[in-house]
Symmetry: C2
Subunit: 308 residues, 2 copies
């Protein structure tokens, strides 16, 4: 019924590229998709929107990597709940010129990451307009039998673990990173994770978010923070430590666990592929940075969308 | 922890405006929301994105009505499956200047419609950028015990019903309409609806989509189409009938039912508030318009996003 061009031809192409999935009773092409859910479990849902020029530069990254990032940032939110991703829907606003080729590459990028994490792409919405590329992904997930890990469960005395080196993500990691889905569920299986968050706004800011929800404070030990190679490669007047504390989009996890669990996890390193580091502890109130024996106030550096 | 401005201050405001809901175990403010699902039923999911300048003119409509529309178009997709909406997530890209006031009005518009249809707003993503307003809503729903109504179930001989008058939606209905959620479930309760679609692209185009999925054709009876007052009010060289056939965003439903059910439903009019009209029948192939005893080819007029 459809001509070779336009929205519906693309949807035909997309359907031809979308493999059957056990959790998808009805995929793209109807008014809604139909998912088959494993059971009456708690359902996680998260949504993230990426806008060209703000979250990526299309000409630098290319559409394949933008698709990968759009899926990965959402998977990172599911990881932060220690959840298992199930299915995604994707809405896009494509620039009119070259929209079809862009849409195909975007979709292939989305699929690569979705396939890697056994996440079905069940449907979405394809639009064109005169503006730049906007892509919004929503992911459904399920909690592990232990329940979702919230931001609000950290307790005074808890230790803070991070799943990898921080800082300098602007040099590339913000586009191409591994959402810590596997690591989070493995961690939650071997320890009782009290609270967790992914580092999207910056370590200090996101520890601040977690503490605000948990009604506690935190003291970060500067010397214990694993600092990435990339944080050392940026010469903009800020130190590698400042980059590790303030740079957004590292997409590592910060987890609050008991002191005994922290000690054991750092010693045993039970999660393959990553090195857990203990970078601080939860205190009664305030955000503090301990550095060379001196404790100072930690500004919750990091990204917030300005709005007035 | 948050200052009075910026993204996080808005999220605080939003949380204060979001009432508790039995289906939402954890609402906005964490990495993902947590939903409590009624059971291991089939889960409907649909997503729609609206972009300023393409889907609405912000200065004409105002943010409240844009919020209402963004929620309503998604509810209309759930209606087209004869589903019951459960929960929504909302992602927005806001223009930087005046973004906070805009975000509040948008959210209040979203809430008005969500509340009317007992749909929880569970979370989302708030961004600002230099571009125009973009809003993407994803809704989860559940199918009735009879299962979801797909586009693909129409059979040759089925009659096509519509739920209201068509055409001229650009004069206002495209912004302010009632998604046919209640009407669809009531219809599916009193008759076996074989296939259904909501009219977003235009009657001819959407009947074409339904027929393509059902591998059949349709003959539309011109004289039987209920034509809206607004279709008569547009004087652009196209007839009211052409507007009824081609105009998008009417958001009425087209349902395929057996001839006996169609006859009974039109006679008994069991759905309060709307007048069901039988406007045609499913045939072996092709799209046809019967008018004054003459049958001609029906072009699948209507909207498709151009893409090259």
């Amino acid at each position: 019924m459809h001509q070779g061009r336009g929205e519906f031809a693309f949807i035909d192409w997309l359907r031809s590229k979308t493999p059957a999935h056990s959790r998808v009773a009805l995929g793209p092409g109807d008014d809604a998709a139909v998912l088959q859910f494993p059971g009456p479990a708690e359902c996680l849902i998260t949504s993230d929107m990426l806008m060209e020029g703000t979250c990526f530069r299309l000409e630098e990254a290319g559409p394949r990597l933008v698709g990968r990032k759009a899926m990965s940032v959402n998977l990172s939110d599911i990881a932060a709940m220690a959840g298992r991703p199930l299915a995604a829907v994707v809405s896009v606003a494509l620039p009119r010129a070259g929209g079809r080729a862009l849409a195909e590459e975007l979709y292939l990028g989305l699929r690569e990451v979705a396939d890697q994490f056994d996440t079905a792409i069940a449907g979405g919405d394809t639009n064109t307009w005169d503006g730049p590329l906007v892509i919004a992904v929503t992911i459904l997930g399920e909690a592990t039998p232990r329940g979702p890990v919230l931001r609000s469960g950290a307790r005074v005395g808890d230790r803070l673990l991070v799943t990898g080196p921080l800082g300098g993500s602007i040099l590339g990691k913000h586009l191409e990173f591994t959402p810590r889905v596997r690591e989070a569920t493995e961690l939650h299986a071997v320890a009782d994770v009290h609270a967790m968050i992914d580092i999207s706004d910056g370590l200090a800011a996101d520890v601040g978010h977690m503490c605000a929800e948990s009604r506690c404070g935190a003291r970060i030990w500067a010397q214990a923070i694993p600092i990435s190679q990339d944080a050392h490669r940026i010469h903009d007047g800020r130190s590698p430590l400042e980059h590790a504390l303030g740079d957004g989009e590292d997409f590592e996890l910060v987890a609050a666990v008991s002191p005994a669990d922290a000690e054991r996890l750092v010693r045993e390193q039970p999660i393959t592929g990553i090195q857990l580091a203990c970078i601080g502890e939860c205190v009664e109130e305030g955000l503090w940075l301990e550095k060379n024996g001196h404790v100072g106030k930690l500004e919750p550096l990091g990204y917030a969308h300005p709005m007035d």
